[in-house]
């Protein structure tokens, strides 16, 4: 038997190094702490600073007032309004979108055994882009049940893109990875071309389309959160349940089968769940790039390759990462905002390049 490594490992300090890995519980606690700190920072910083102590006091006061408990030291009335209607929904939505993209990216990387996979790989981004562009160009301002149509169109477009890639990939006889990836490339190219065509025909909407394509969380509302939370919750639960089967899948399809794990079923389930998470995130934030690629790699360095630790770390770390990225997007050119996708790419692209360089150097 020739032993093929799926790649050289990271942190090559390790000629002999034994790998000590934190337990899953420690990962969850550390990740939750990071997310909480990021959230407090995200709430604090802005045109009207909201100090963390007063924020916590206000939130405790709100939570405990039904029990007749008063917590002193809270924010003033205006500050509280900013907290509850602007800052908090935005931070929560950033955390949800970041968590969804990172856990989807980590899952895609596992299921395709490809460290360069990201949540947009199978046509989700191109499909969502086409959906949003169509609405911006032909049905601006239309709402359904009080919800703007752009999120719905983006959600439907993302699922259509992935669905087409899956259909094409399976029809082409591919339960194997390469066929599916190639089908995804074909679908994405087609949908992106269609999106460009629509955009070209409607040049006056260019700015709004670009704004959407680059991702943003400005104007985040509680209704956005309620819209995506059920899908995100369901998708994340399925992916966390698939953590062990994903670990088994890492040793190859035949061996996974010999270990009692059905490779094609697990792959399909994970792709569907990860795509659902991606579509939900895209619907409310546009195309925020690099989170789904960079965060899983950072997490892997910290907690190792096992999905039992990696996926929870992605959920919490992705949330923290995007809350901080959104903070930067809001603050750097204040009062104007940078597109969120620009901020994540500024952090993500150099990291990605470094990753490629480090991998290439070890070959």
């Amino acid at each position: 038997m020739t032993a093929t490594s799926s790649g050289t490992r990271d942190g090559q300090a390790a000629g002999a190094a034994s790998a000590r890995r934190p337990g899953a519980l420690l990962v969850v606690c550390a990740g939750a702490a990071a997310l909480l700190l990021a959230a407090l920072a995200g709430i604090w910083v802005g045109a009207l600073p909201l100090p963390p102590v007063a924020v916590v006091a206000t939130l405790l006061d709100r939570a405990l007032s039904p029990l007749g408990v008063d917590v002193p030291g809270g924010l003033t009335g205006t500050e509280a309004a900013v907290l509850l209607q602007l800052r908090l929904p935005r931070v929560v939505l950033a955390a949800l979108v970041g968590a969804a993209l990172a856990v989807a990216g980590g899952s895609y990387q596992g299921v395709f055994r490809n460290p360069l996979a990201d949540p947009y790989l199978l046509g989700a981004a191109a499909g969502a882009g086409l959906g949003a562009t169509l609405v911006i160009a032909y049905a601006p301002g239309v709402t359904v049940a009080g919800i703007g149509v752009i999120p719905l169109a983006a959600f439907a477009g993302a699922l259509t893109g992935v669905g087409a890639a899956l259909l094409l990939g399976t029809a082409a006889g591919g339960s194997n990875n390469a066929t599916l990836l190639l089908a995804g490339v074909a679908v994405a190219a087609f949908l992106a071309a269609a999106q460009t065509l629509v955009q070209q025909q409607n040049a006056e909407d260019l700015q709004q389309v670009y704004g959407w394509l680059l991702g943003q969380l400005g104007g985040a509302q509680w209704s956005d959160i309620l819209l995506v939370l059920p899908y995100l919750g369901l998708a994340s639960a399925v992916l966390l349940l698939c953590a062990r089967p994903l670990d088994v899948l890492a040793v190859g399809d035949d061996e996974a089968r010999s270990l009692g794990v059905h490779p094609t079923r697990v792959r399909l389930l994970v792709i569907v769940a990860a795509s659902l998470a991606t579509a939900s995130a895209v619907a409310v934030s546009g195309l925020v790039g690099f989170v789904g690629l960079v965060v899983p790699h950072m997490a892997r360095r910290l907690v190792g390759g096992s999905h039992v630790r990696l996926l929870p770390a992605c959920l919490l770390g992705g949330g923290a990462f995007l809350v901080l990225a959104d903070l930067v997007a809001r603050v750097v050119l204040s009062p104007a905002e940078l597109p969120l996708g620009v901020v994540t790419a500024f952090i993500g692209a150099p990291f990605f390049a470094g990753l490629l360089w480090a991998r290439g150097r070890r070959r």
Binding site: M1, T2, A3, S5, A14, A17, G252, G260, R300, G305
Partner: protein
């Protein structure tokens, strides 16, 4: 360990796309026996093993102690049959112990933490295969021979009744190849595990397996004791090879002969 089972392959046929690669293959391996499938490149050896595993679509039946395996689910099958492929994928960032522990997958519930039994089996298998000192090392930093032992340990942690080995010595030098084959031989004698393997080295195949099956163009053209299967005539007919076969102390030894000019 539960001891070996009688493995029967009955009328097995398989194809790659529309090209048939196996025709009506019939083989029996007795409990605790070792049958090595030999044959030239492209004769269908790996496809045969993958069909017995259930990873390749096929006609005919694979039976374990008379019960058809194909009816069993993937998980039930994995408690009986373990497999080590020719080119195992060794994931990054995985320690040797975590890799070996994957062998417990078919015995563990999806969400349950490993039980004491799982830890005990993993520890025992690692001890037997002398992997204790490598438990915390990353799999990808081990040498070829050590990785081969880790793959075997992972298969044994399944506590299988049948072990399928696809070219277990392909990447190893002679000394390491002998170590691995000795190890497999010890395991099957001590635990009675039934072994079905492919082996391209005819001399080693004859020394370790009790029976050989010669596969040529997808058909079993000879099956029996090593000395009856490995003959100069068979090598010429099916391998297109010039060789002299001499009787060695542990089975037939193949001496390749140079061509004229």
């Amino acid at each position: 360990m539960t001891g070996g089972a009688r493995l029967e392959v009955v009328g097995l046929g398989a194809a790659h796309g529309r090209t048939p690669v196996l025709h009506d293959v019939r083989l029996t391996v007795e409990p605790g026996g070792w049958l090595a499938v030999i044959g030239p490149n492209g004769s269908g050896k790996s496809t045969l093993l993958r069909s017995v595993l259930g990873a390749h679509p096929h006609d005919g039946q694979v039976r374990l102690d008379g019960t058809p395996l194909d009816a069993a689910g993937v998980r039930a099958r994995a408690r009986q049959v373990a497999y080590a492929p020719q080119q195992p994928v060794l994931p990054e960032g995985l320690t040797t112990r975590d890799y070996v522990a994957l062998g417990r997958t078919p015995h563990r519930a999806l969400l349950a933490a490993p039980r004491a039994l799982d830890h005990r089996v993993v520890a025992e298998v690692m001890g037997r295969l002398e992997l204790d000192g490598l438990a915390g090392r990353l799999l990808t930093t081990l040498s070829g021979g050590e990785q081969q032992r880790a793959v075997l340990a992972r298969a044994l942690a399944q506590q299988p009744r049948v072990l399928l080995l696809d070219e277990p010595t392909a990447a190893l030098d002679l000394g390491h190849a002998q170590q691995v084959l000795d190890l497999v031989d010890t395991l099957r004698r001590q635990d009675g595990i039934t072994v079905l393997s492919t082996l391209h080295d005819l001399t080693l195949a004859g020394q370790y397996a009790d029976r050989l099956a010669l596969l040529s163009a997808g058909r079993v053209v000879a099956e029996g004791l090593p000395a009856d299967v490995v003959t100069a005539a068979a090598l010429e007919a099916h391998y297109g090879a010039r060789a002299r076969v001499v009787a060695g102390p542990d089975g037939p030894a193949v001496l390749p002969l140079r061509g004229p000019g």
